[in-house]
Symmetry: C2
Subunit: 399 residues, 2 copies
């Protein structure tokens, strides 16, 4: 029997999805599971977005342009202009989800063995894309005490080697919810210009900022050749299944290289491009309602968590995630135990152990990530469950 690749061996399993069998078993026992583990919002996809697909009347489901339909890219130019990002439609490649935008950036900018610096904790799937591209992720650690603010410039400087080609951030951040300030973005700019690095900026949650305005990497002056924006409509319009994202840069050489990767896979999905194009025409106040909804969920979650003895949860400034430290021995064990061995009034909670978001071994063992993608009542029930669970969990620690 032929053996699989080392790459196939090294490829990490999804730290979020590995608990799924335990959740399924709990449900089979009749236990209600509150899913705070994954960024799948319960918010409905806007009807005009789905209707655009349902009312489409083409006869052939054709390949689109490899960079995406020109009509959609022109709409995206309009979308980005609302954030003072001035583009032309040829500076946008429509991708298959934000995931593909990350792969294109890694592939087009980094060679095997090259390094990208990422503040940890970070979105776990960056690890997978790094394995695919044979790229090394080097982390510098952000701390829960500061709410996961950007680590100091010196920490970045210390991590830079001759193989460092890029810094990757997610802003606002998944998994921490931290919203980088303009000043922090300026620090990244200084670093990139001084060391001739790309800045990969994953801005999937741009619209969901509660602690001030979002400052896009695309708004950094003098960084046109350095910045690559990785974007997606998944969270913005509750359209995760569409698999539509965008790779955006003003660096023409990078664009030309990324286009070759885009051509190899022919085109992004046609149906969801129609959805994405319609989404840009949603009333501008669409996000006011969504943002208010997420913010009220955040408030319920963070306030509730901080009332539980031994729990600390910094208030996230954006996205729809919160990281909390718990009085436990091991978050992997605890999250599994919650699904396997615990229930309160026939209910339990599924969370993501934070260990999967850190590269440094041992970090995140007391932390979990909670996605506030459920309504407030469900979140309140989930908090009660968590509090009861912490009272009886055998691996409870004093703090």
């Amino acid at each position: 029997m032929p053996t699989i690749s080392q790459r196939g061996v090294q490829m990490p399993s999804s730290p979020i999805r590995k608990l799924v069998p335990f959740a399924e078993a709990a449900k089979k026992r009749g236990v209600k599971v509150y899913h705070l583990n994954i960024g799948q919002p319960d918010i409905e996809t806007p009807k005009p977005v789905l209707d655009a697909v349902r009312h489409s009347d083409f006869k052939i489901l054709e390949y689109s342009h490899s960079a995406g339909n020109e009509s959609y890219r022109r709409k995206l130019v309009e979308y980005y202009s609302r954030f003072n990002v001035s583009l032309n439609h040829n500076q946008i490649i429509v991708t298959t989800g934000g995931s593909e935008a990350i792969v294109f950036a890694f592939m087009a900018c980094l060679d095997p063995g090259d390094e990208v610096i990422v503040p940890e904790p970070f979105y776990a799937n960056y690890n997978g894309f790094a394995v695919e591209a044979e790229v090394k992720i080097k982390t510098i650690t952000a701390n829960i005490e500061t709410g996961f603010a950007l680590p100091a410039m010196e920490a970045f400087e210390a991590a830079i080697t001759p193989r460092t080609k890029a810094i990757l951030i997610c802003n606002p951040n998944n998994p921490t919810g931290y919203l980088y300030s303009k000043e922090e973005m300026e620090v990244l700019k200084q670093l990139c210009l001084k060391h001739n690095l790309f800045l990969f900026s994953d801005e999937a949650y741009r619209e969901f900022c509660y602690a001030g305005e979002h400052f896009s990497a695309m708004n950094l002056e003098g960084m046109d050749d350095n910045v690559i924006l990785m974007d997606t409509i998944s969270k913005r319009y509750s359209a995760c299944g569409g698999r539509i994202g965008a790779f955006v840069t003003k660096n023409q050489v990078v664009l030309d290289a990324a286009m070759k990767f885009a051509q190899a896979r022919l085109s992004p999905p046609s149906f969801a491009q129609i959805a994405g194009e319609a989404a840009v025409d949603l009333p501008l106040d669409y996000f006011d309602g969504i943002k208010a909804e997420y913010q009220s969920r955040r408030d319920v979650l963070v306030e509730g968590l901080n009332k539980i003895p031994g729990v600390f949860c910094p208030n996230p400034g954006g996205a729809f995630y919160a990281m909390a430290s718990l009085p436990i021995d091991d978050s992997d064990k605890f999250c599994q135990w919650m699904l396997e061995s615990f229930e309160y009034e026939k209910q339990t909670v599924m969370m993501s152990p934070a260990t999967g978001f850190y590269a440094t071994p041992g970090l995140g063992k007391k932390e979990v990530r909670l996605a506030y993608v459920l309504n407030r009542d469900d979140i309140r029930h989930a908090i009660v469950c968590l509090e009861k669970a912490l009272e009886v969990y055998p691996g409870r620690t004093s703090k």
Copy 2:
């Protein structure tokens, strides 16, 4: 300015799409261009397939399972059973187009520097996926004189090195249209078992066979651990823009590895999975009509081409491509000249230079690939254009 990767430099441009600007310029001059260059059929997507999406009534466009919706995978089990391929739904990973199935196979089975043997001419985008995976494509040459039959076993043996991990075929073949016989498939089986190789089988055109029955690699006995089927609904149902394919194998270790790559990119597109699922329920005689249509187009094309002095086109047994050798100096030059400098009654033809389908330098310079994706009248007009063009082309050769 940071530099792009060597991989980004090496990534090949699409040999098919590089002529697009010349075609666009021709159209701007008012010239009608017959597109025989690309496998985008003019056949309508079956209405029930599109209607399934249009009549869907979900409220949230959610992520699907990373392996695709279970209901769709169960339908695919039914689909494959029609070809005496017995599977369970966990042996199928729904992919984003056939392209992603190829990438998963390369990533999960081959490490950087590993070699995969491919008969040339071959589907040009395999080159791109090989660059992404840092894998080496080694070719053995099939000849137009034999209609591009499988090269002799000895040719494969001579190409095998300690780094060889797989053989990749496309059956029926793009770009040659050649349909591999059961006997040729048995030769591949012997090779794979003897040298412990994977057999990657791209069967995108399974339903379009005119010279006998299709024999799937999945039907090779004793090869369960070796065979990986790469599939797609793009051509089968004229649904190229859906971006839905499949990665199929009975090798559990390979499946587990591929699932990790599938999890990293979260899920395949949701809308088109609905379309794919509905497609399996099309009446079984759906393909009779489509196949008859393609076969009649093939007959018109091949007969017409072989009547042109100096032109030779072997009769393809499947898919919807034909390779023809022309009395010309250089197919790249000729195809560009057709768009840039030639017109007959305000019409011209776009074809793919065969050089892009060969890895061996110099091969394919007299050959072009023609996709018979247009109706018979259009094909007849295109043949007249081509004949007139060959009469006046400055680089014409005697044969």
